[in-house]
Symmetry: D2
Subunit: 349 residues, 4 copies
């Protein structure tokens, strides 16, 4: 089977690099067209990009030319990891010009007619693109994935919302520095420190979680009927967002019910056997001190949400810890899985 | 005025070292008698102690002999920072023998007739020692300070409990490695990692906070009438526990009410002018990204609790961030302030 | 081909864990017999061992019993990663009892009749075991690998000694915390710090390098005819020892000569195709800021020595940077490669 | 005595902030005029500056206006911590206009007629400014201090050069991240890593050390008659450059001779009692594992060079470890001490 040639908008950034790396051996897609800011355009990828991943820069990509972010010459399917300052305009231009834009940027996430998609959580939201094309008269479309901090929360809550109904959620994150991109956090700000503020992050987590766990009704999303409150912090970890979560349900449940719901959870990506899908979307650790970024980050190639320390919460009902790989499951891998689902569901035809 | 000679049980540990350091220039007390485990007994303090503080080992103390933890020859007032495995028995023996033991250990904290004391929060609990002596027939007494993680929570809640009444509290801590003592956490466990578990810590925070904010009635403490739930984590910070806190009150309040309550708060240590008392027990930072361990740890010589980021919480009522120096305000400085209060209130006569 | 069953002395320590991990998929050897201190004996490996590697504990090993370090019942080939406090006596006992002991401990390294072996550097030293058996009347034998800091230095020097002759070497190391084992360095000692001292390390590097690059003559090693001076430091890196090296040769050479000698270097492990042998023992990086632990540690599965920044040295002749994985190439992988060479050369028959 | 009003060029950078902080309580000088890049000009210092020091922003300075780097309105004495990209032109303009520029920038350091000054090392070099004014027809002058890595090396060598004569020096540095300014090193580059390259640093150390220890003859400096070779590395330390140093002397010396030369060393700053002068320019630690940034950085308020681990070097003659505070002794404090010396020697009249 010939691979589908795809492009990357914002290819030189941290998430762009992860996309390049994840696409290297992808069975369906092949990175063939790269675009970035004007400063990079005209250079080869190797020249334009300050490669920061431990895995080496794939050879097939190193000598590709970096283009400007203009639709002319771009392939039909594009991943976007552009900075939100420019993503709005660029992604719209590509969608108007007939491209499918699978975006990691925050600009369109909360638009009524744009799917905010985690294939393991709300695959049915993909259908929103029909409304989108109708409303916007675009020949192409935009599909988004959530913020990296939202992912671990929404994935760990999805089986519980389905099984028991959620009423209230309180979350504190301890987020990795890679979530801030590159150069990102200056070392002088974070070495031996905790920074208890990340601009806009708490608001994103609070509203995106409710959209993700909402229902698709009459061409728009009815937000999930629960409350979320988030405290977001930056800590000196390279990759992996750790979250402490307290939750109240709409009915009485036991710890065994919750664990069973997590362990049994499968969704469309697992059913379809999508190449980037984790076999177990939720991995449950039973040690008393896990999950930890050091040991659990690579579970299911970084595509699982790892949970542990489930116990009763005196204030809400239960509390636990969740860990998610912020640049894989929370960004590049999220976009990739979205595109895979779009392919099996016929949205790329 | 001649200084009162005091002793330290567990003088070679991290908290013992902090006590030695804080006592160096203390106007009322002077460290003159040191005790530690059998392994150290018989050596000089310099030999027995692997000094780990940035401030140099005080000269007057370096050549003191280290004794075994036996009452014979010990001064009337002793600070104890013994490991909880041995503290119970040793502290009891000293109290029976007529000594005043001002303890940082957890063993006696929750006993009905033992004051769990933060002078800025519940100075009136000190009166419990009358009941203690009556019940136990001890010639001496034991007074305790709370766990290092409890302190920042209880101090930041104290003015709010008094002004508005608290109903529910949810706290997530990001705790410094010094809280685990020395050698404490192996580097291989925490470098670039978060450890979302600290044995016994959550339970301590949940019950100690309620005792501290409880009322002293008929010789025992009526626990505070609110619920606390804690998530405790270890992060790669040297000193300073950062806490994200959500709270629900018993009446409607505004952010301005809370800030005003914090800023205006003074208690007996400020009134008495205790040498180790912070001028402002609660320091309110207004920057959007503070408090941070790097910048706020030394506020009021490490004796203040620094709060910031006060904002509404969708799940409870308000949320904020608190920071407290875990080995000063949370341990050695806490014990010292307890002893200072005991002196002005006549308990050392 | 049936795999050879092997044992591990000191199986629960950091190097023991690496051995277990590297043996999991080894084509020739299989870990079947584990031994550790009395405290661990009688437990399963899972119970006895605080597994600290990111790769999960291999299932086949988790339920093996942990034995005492006594020869009865042990297989003929044993890897030893015992603490040097006990390694001397235990290894001798096993060798006397007829076992082949492939040791990572320092105790026997400098003995005249014990091979100190890096198969890519001095495979011919293995022949010393004939002398060893003759002298000591042992039925078994002991073969050692060098200190983890020596390895990167000796490997990067080996091609240069062969090609040009070395006269003087000055080395400063920046060593990873995993080199100190577990629990190893307390976080309070190394967080944000450099510790410019590692007990015994400089002496080991200085003498081991000369033995490794010496010639085997008449059943003993004539030490390499050059001088080594080492400065050893601990820095806050998890794995990977970085070394700055200045060297003076016995003849005039150019940077191109040196690079060519490194790139062309192959030795017996490559010729024999040993399973753990790196294809390129020396990997040369050309970027101006490499090698770095973050990016180069895993070169050749952690079995290469990575060099870079070759330039003239005003004091000696040339200077460069070398990086080596301290628990793989510098310990567990080193022992494994030694055993592989012993097998192909007939020493295990 | 009325304090002399001084200005700071590049006041918002890391070294500029240190200058502001060190000048807060200075007995002779008072920061009254601040200048920075066009982007900052017109704002107050509080607005323009992202204050990154642990000590709080001095109140008297916070509301000062930030000017452009133009001489009009500037006081006669200016400290410059400008980026070397702009320092050359700006400093020249100020000197031409009659100002005394005490510069931390590298641009003029190696000019024949510009003093490269460490008052404890080569106070007599200050006389070069006479030649400078003659040659350049400037009404003002420029005086420079060395690179932050040079300082610890040159200070620890100065007493030895004077006493014994130096022949060869080999130095490896482990440099703090604050040396790269702010934002400086991205966390993703240095977390758990060593970067064995700092652009231009090795060359600076090699030539500056020879100028500093050279002799002032006939209005220019005869470079020190010895060879220096440097390896420079960045490690994850906040402040404090640690250096391993090997040295060969022109005559036979003993360890006792060296220690005595260090301990006895005093120079003009000590004689004159300059306010920023360390009482002991060289502090000798006798513990086997010191100096360390964590414990020794603040020696003599960050103005001492701390040495330790003196022992024989097999390749050169002796080796030791030196530590120096890179933003105090190596930058802001260095410039301040230069200005103090200029005042007592009459260069500011």
């Amino acid at each position: 089977m010939k691979k589908l040639e795809v492009g990357i908008l914002g290819a030189t950034g941290m998430v762009g690099q992860r996309l390049v790396s994840l696409l290297e051996h992808h069975p369906w897609f092949e990175a063939k067209w790269l675009a970035a800011s004007e400063r990079s355009a005209g250079k080869t990828y190797r020249e334009a990009c300050n490669w920061r991943l431990r895995d080496p820069l794939p050879k097939g990509v190193a000598d590709l030319a970096v283009h400007e972010c203009k639709p002319a010459g771009a392939p039909p399917l594009l991943f976007s990891s552009l900075d939100s300052k420019v993503a709005g305009e660029v992604e719209r231009e590509f969608a108007q010009a007939g491209h499918v834009v699978v975006s990691n940027s925050s600009n369109f996430r909360m638009e009524q007619d744009v799917p905010l998609l985690i294939p393991d959580v709300n695959p049915e939201h993909l259908a929103l693109v029909c409304e989108q094309r109708k409303q916007r008269k675009w020949k192409g479309m935009i599909v988004t994935n959530p913020n990296c901090t939202t992912v671990g929360l929404a994935m760990s809550l999805a089986p519980l919302e389905k099984a028991f109904g959620i009423e209230k959620v309180l979350m504190t994150s301890m987020q990795a520095v890679s979530g801030a991109g590159y150069p990102g956090i200056p070392t002088l700000d974070i070495l031996g420190n905790v920074v208890p503020f990340i601009g806009g992050e708490e608001e994103k987590v609070e509203r995106e979680t409710r959209k993700l766990l909402g229902k698709c009704v009459d061409g728009h999303v009815k937000m999930g009927d629960f409350i979320v409150s988030a405290h977001c912090n930056r800590v000196m970890v390279e990759d992996g967002h750790t979250e402490t979560i307290s939750v109240a349900f709409r009915k009485k449940v036991t710890a065994a019910d919750i664990t069973e719901a997590w362990r049994a959870y499968r969704s469309l990506p697992q059913e379809r056997g999508l190449p980037s899908a984790p076999k177990h979307p939720i991995v449950v650790r039973e040690e008393r001190d896990r999950p930890q970024p050091k040991f659990d980050l690579e579970s299911e190639h970084g595509m699982a949400t790892v949970v542990g320390r489930l116990r009763e919460c005196a204030v809400l009902q239960f509390k636990y810890v969740a860990l998610s790989h912020n640049t894989i499951r929370g960004a590049a891998g999220a976009a990739l899985l979205n595109a895979e689902l779009m392919k099996t569901e016929g949205y790329l035809d």
